[in-house]
């Protein structure tokens, strides 16, 4: 049978497809949250923080440890995760951000892979998967929800999407109307000129690093609940957010948000299509490639023009 015919025959009905779109929205919301956090840091410091997922994963595992082995109140444990994200990211930014400030953005970005690997190794060491160990975080909001069609939508799903929207709106307003936000936008254009104008660039950078870390911590908790409390899984979920940021050309917060939602929905929506389901992990790459190809369709590389 021709592959296209096979594909057409395996398509689910619209009624069967709807629940998958609902589940994809929540996932897309958290991808958006992560993507927006990365964009804000990039626009301020020129660093694309690839350790975003690892920071969130580490924080989530700390929360799990505090809840299950120290008997800590779970909300305090989640707060610890968020603070861990902020502190570790701020510490990295203060130590390495300054040292790498004058380097090429690609170098700055690659350096964050070092933090990723360190955190990944530490997580594997501290929270081994030996003996069938399986960990999970279940937010209290998982126990409440409402039915949409055939499936239950939990309050956590709604919160994930709502926080994604809220962070996007708040960040947009913050960058546009607050003094710190204005300083961040100025730094994105030219760090040196901004410094000569009297803007405390290090303080502004510190704010951006800390804010990015806080968002990483929030994303970590939500993704640990919505996806899995697994170091490797959470660390590399950053790929979906990165693809969304790439579609937005690492500049537009709103395009990042919309792209992340689309990635989440398409990823989930492909699940019941038998012939495609095992390829759905490619969704972020495929959508990013399509978007970049479309955006650049009328452009040629200057290199080509110079040579010919």
């Amino acid at each position: 049978m021709h592959p296209l015919i096979h594909l057409a025959l395996s398509l689910p009905s619209w009624q069967d497809e709807q629940p998958f779109l609902v589940t994809g929205l929540a996932l897309g919301g958290v991808y958006a949250l992560s993507g927006v956090g990365m964009i804000v840091l990039f626009r301020t410091t020129g660093v694309l923080n690839l350790s975003f997922g690892a920071v969130g994963a580490f924080g989530a595992l700390i929360s799990w440890q505090l809840i299950n082995h120290s008997g800590m109140n779970q909300w305090l444990a989640y707060l610890a995760c968020v603070l861990f994200g902020g502190v570790i990211t701020l510490a990295y930014g203060m130590v390495f951000g300054r040292a790498l400030a004058g380097r090429d953005p690609l170098v700055k970005t690659t350096a964050t892979l070092g933090l990723t690997l360190i955190l990944l190794g530490a997580m594997d060491l501290l929270w081994t998967s030996n003996g069938g160990a399986s960990r999970s975080i279940s937010l209290p909001t998982d126990n409440h929800g409402f039915m949409v069609g055939q499936i239950q939508v939990t309050t956590t799903d709604v919160i994930a999407l709502a926080i994604g929207v809220a962070i996007t709106v708040a960040t947009t307003l913050f960058l546009r109307y607050s003094r710190l936000g204005t300083a961040m936008r100025a730094m994105a254009n030219d760090r040196e000129i901004t410094a000569t104008l009297g803007v405390p660039v290090r303080r502004v950078e510190a704010s951006a690093w800390f804010g990015c870390g806080i968002v990483a911590g929030i994303s970590g908790i939500l993704l640990a609940d919505l996806v899995a409390l697994d170091a490797t899984t959470l660390t590399f979920l950053v790929i979906s957010s990165l693809a969304a940021a790439l579609i937005a050309r690492l500049s537009s917060i709103w395009i990042t948000f919309i792209a992340a939602i689309i990635i989440g929905v398409v990823d989930a929506g492909v699940t019941p299509i038998t012939s495609l389901t095992n390829y759905r992990d490619m969704t972020p790459f495929v959508l990013a490639a399509i978007a970049l190809g479309f955006l650049n369709r009328k452009r040629v590389l200057s290199l080509a023009r110079q040579e010919f």
Binding site: D16, F20, T23, G24, A26, L27, L48, L50, P105, L106, T109, T110, L113, L117, L120, G121, D124, T128, S129, N130, G131, G132, A133, S134, R135, S136, S138, D142, M147, I151, Q152, L226, V227, A228, D230, A231, T232, T233, T235, F236, I239, L242, A243, L246, R249, L250, S251, D267, A268, T271, P272, T277, N278, R280, D281, K298, R299, V300, L301, S302
Partner: protein, 463 residues
């Protein structure tokens, strides 16, 4: 037409995606690279590795074994002082797949034996080689164990690939390995025998329960999208076909990033009279089951099943009471939560006194390590004369009807073309944070052609 300088930020983005993707591949596929140092460490200092729970040996150095633990050896409280008998094992140890609880439990058992007279006065020395599923590393480890460490037996292999890669080497040397396997060759070759049933026959058991006991009208069998899934699915498929029950086989990429969609798809595929059978590691199974619970799907099918990896209290605790008697797990070994007796006391005693390095504590991995160590020691005690590779392996292949309360039927090695000595199993179910027995010992159906082949071969060999 506009000219366009490829924006620096786009270069960064593209390079970043490529870098993270490569890192992800490295993390998923051969993440051993990040572990090779430790694996290498274990390899280059195997003698040191063999004394990993040295602290526990030291604490028991006084030789006053207590609490029934001394029954592991023939001379309670008397340390073995003879020349050591070298035993080797190869085990997977990489992020996400850490089987070292198995060899660590064997080491704990050996330490107990060594503190209580040894084997005919000889202490047992375990050489552990850890690998990160790199074929060259595994074959090199086998050669090192034989040529450098001079081991006379291979016992307690917990590995993803070892059975596949080393069979011809063992056969050439006349070694009969004892393992808790994963790869098909652990059961389909003459020089390997496992105490576990592995993914295929355990999945058979889970499907068999769904069809014979729960009377499910349809089976949805789902497992990781990795090489070898066809071999595993062939068993459940044969069982379902023999019972005229439709079966749908699915695979999922791991790690699972969108468990909600996966759970929804499974439930939709099975329908209200269907049964979903999972063949995943505990973390992956957990995310699917929890997603089903969050979406309110757990009651939308007749029931849920799982192969042996789900038989862990970790999973039962994480799932909570909502899954009591809704999930039925095929169990190759008896549940520690509702079995007791002298052997269980010994197992728990050894774990408590010598097993500080067994991270998972009580569970399938340490149980399998216990059984593998116990059977080997029992076989070695029957060797008369010097402990050579030949005399030891003659004793191992001669194992017949060794009994343990941890597996259903007596265990036999024997000279047959394939070995599935553990082919009768339990079914367990979560019960308020513990896994308890839902169905006692039940033979795996001979509708699986490999089970039928083994039983015929065993019968012909007089086993």
């Amino acid at each position: 037409m506009r000219s366009y300088h490829l924006l620096p930020r786009m270069r960064i983005g593209l390079a970043s995606v490529a870098a993270v993707a490569l890192l992800a591949l490295a993390g998923c596929g051969s993440s051993g690279s990040s572990k090779s140092a430790s694996g290498g460490g274990a390899t280059t200092s195997a003698a040191g590795t063999s004394s990993a729970p040295a602290g526990s040996t030291g604490t028991s150095g006084g030789g006053t074994a207590s609490g029934g633990v001394s029954s592991c050896g023939p001379k309670p409280g008397q340390k073995a002082t003879g020349s050591p008998i070298n035993i080797g094992t190869i085990d997977t140890h990489q992020p996400g797949t850490d089987f070292t609880d198995g060899p660590n439990m064997i080491q704990a058992y050996f330490n107990c034996v060594n503190d209580n007279g040894g084997v005919n006065g000889h202490p047992l020395k375990l050489f552990v080689e850890l690998d990160q599923t790199q074929p060259a590393q595994i074959t090199a480890a086998a050669h090192k164990l034989i040529q450098s460490d001079h081991v006379v037996a291979i016992d307690g292999v917990f590995d993803l690939l070892e059975c596949t890669l080393d069979q011809s080497y063992w056969k050439g040397l006349g070694i009969f390995e004892m393992d808790a396997g994963i790869a098909p060759e652990c059961w389909s070759t003459p020089n390997s025998a496992a105490v576990n049933m592995g993914p295929r026959y355990s999945s058979d058991g889970a499907v068999q329960y769904a069809i014979d006991v729960a009377k499910a009208k349809k089976i949805v069998f789902v497992q990781s999208n990795v090489p070898g899934t066809g071999y595993i699915a062939a068993g459940p498929s044969a069982l379902a076909k023999a019972s005229n029950v439709p079966i749908k086989e699915l695979t999922e990429n791991v790690p699972i990033n969108d468990a909600n969609s996966v759970a929804l798809n499974l439930v939709n595929s099975a329908g209200p009279d269907g049964w979903v059978v999972l063949n995943f590691t505990p973390p992956e199974a957990l995310v699917i089951l929890q997603a089903a619970q969050k979406l309110g799907l757990e009651d939308r099918v007749k029931g849920w099943g799982c192969s042996t990896p789900c038989n862990t209290d970790f999973l039962a605790k994480a799932l909570g009471p909502k899954w009591n008697r809704k999930l039925f797990v095929n169990a190759e070994l008896a549940s520690p939560d509702d079995h007791s007796g002298p052997e269980w006391d010994l197992y728990k005693g050894i774990l408590s006194k010598y097993g500080s390095s067994v991270a998972g504590g009580i569970g399938s991995f340490s149980q399998m390590g216990f059984v593998l160590a116990k059977f080997l020691v029992q076989a070695l005690q029957n060797v008369h004369g010097a402990y050579t590779m030949k005399s030891v392996n003659d004793a191992i292949v001669g194992i017949k009807d060794y009994k343990t309360s941890m597996i259903c039927e007596p265990w036999t090695y024997g000279k047959v073309a394939l070995h599935i000595p553990n082919n009768t199993d339990y079914t367990t179910t979560p019960d308020n944070g513990k896994m308890v027995t839902a169905q006692g010992c039940t033979p795996i159906s001979a509708a699986d052609p490999q089970i039928a082949q083994y039983r015929a071969a065993a019968k012909a060999a007089g086993i």
